[in-house]
Symmetry: none
Subunit: 252 residues, 2 copies
């Protein structure tokens, strides 16, 4: 196994789970723990992770994610959500992924050996996927909105209209059992609606702070959500409301 390959796999695992254990990696790769420790030391030196006793944890991705990763605190939590979310994927599927830091984390967590077709209007997601050799990637162009890191507008909508997907990873929004899925921006909401319309199922992965909140623009009803990926500590009462409307709950 190539050193570089090991490094990549460790980074994948860091993106998916937020942490790695030296011993576990050693047995997985079939190398000594010393070698793993050397790898982790180098990755830490390059800023890809932070070394801790027993392994390493994901570092705040400054350089890796130039766009729209504002929430630096919840990095590890988002990586955990992402790891659970990508477990929903299977080979050959077609996905819509829109913007938001959680969706960037999900894009990073997608295994490199998984064959997928993905369309996204997020520059961050596209960048994260640009080194996944088996992903057929379509960039949905349009007017670039700096604050969101995504493309919106008529061109974006026209491109979406020509596509259909198995799953739509809907990100960065308000989420309320009665008001449904909502967005902060009109044009953004329009794009999300178009993606939702052309998808067989919607997946939403959220941290607790998004639960039971709402934004001005409505995207879809809560009953449109097929998979809801949440933290272990999410309030059961809120989740029950979504579950009643047909959502499948996945705990990260």
């Amino acid at each position: 196994m190539l050193t570089d390959q090991r490094h990549q796999l460790i980074r994948d695992r860091l993106a998916a789970e937020g942490r790695v254990l030296a011993g576990e990696l050693a047995s997985r790769f079939g190398v000594s723990e010393d070698t793993v420790r050397r790898d982790l030391r180098e990755l830490a030196k390059a800023g890809h992770c932070r070394r801790v006793y027993g392994g390493a944890v994901a570092a705040a991705p400054f350089a890796a994610a130039p766009i729209g990763l504002r929430g630096g605190h919840a990095v590890e939590e988002k990586a955990r959500l992402a790891g659970t979310a990508v477990a929903l994927l299977s080979r050959g599927q077609t996905l819509f992924i829109d913007g938001g830091s959680t969706n960037v984390a999900i894009a990073k967590a997608i295994p490199r050996d998984l064959e997928l077709t993905i369309a996204t209007n997020s520059l961050g997601v596209a960048s994260a996927l640009s080194d996944h050799p088996l992903v057929e990637l379509t960039m949905l162009g349009g007017r670039f909105v700096r604050d969101l890191g995504t493309c919106v507008g008529a061109d974006t909508l026209a491109a979406i209209a020509q596509l259909g997907a198995d799953l739509f990873f809907l990100g960065s929004c308000g989420l309320d059992a009665s008001r449904g899925v909502t967005a902060f921006d009109s044009a953004e909401a329009e794009v999300k609606r178009a993606m939702a319309k052309n998808s067989a199922g919607i997946v939403i992965a959220v941290t607790n702070d998004k639960l039971a909140t709402a934004a001005p623009y409505r995207v879809a009803g809560a009953d449109a959500i097929r998979h809801l990926v949440v933290e272990k500590t999410a309030p059961a009462a809120i989740l029950a409301d979504f579950e009643r409307q047909g959502a499948e709950i996945h705990f990260a």
Copy 2:
């Protein structure tokens, strides 16, 4: 087996698997590992892959390589070219910028206080511009080509057809006074042609190694070039040919 044939097979394998092993390729092709190493060295020099101990991995086309010292000179030279190229810009202009590392350098070099409208099909250029507050940015979507870091295809062409620009920064191509501007990829050439058609002027910034070279697909004649940005050490004889056909030469 022909050298070019081997190179192509290696590139195919890199595209499919993201990595290759020197020993594996040697036995597969029936040549010595030395030959394979030479191949990998050349492919790496051409930017098609990154050399690692034991083999090579697919190159990240537009990823900034701050650590790599190998291309240190080229990076510095490209930054100098970029600085000269952005001096051609003035407030309120509309630009097309396509892919290539030189264009990413140019995008980075654009002053943050300059008001511009820019359309690009390059993920790297878009990322570089995503923190320029006064740039109105349009992402030209389409099928994403990993090797180029750009979007191509019918969607891209359709989006370009709706736009017009003052200047087109045409990147990463072969450049010859008689054969004109050429590209390595058919779809890429098509996009460049569309951008050229809808632009009032073409700007090309090249390092010396691109001068007097040609690729299979023709994009435009040498007489279409309005501004040619070159290194100070560029051969005067070659430049004279371009100047005769109407290009304005700018030394970085």
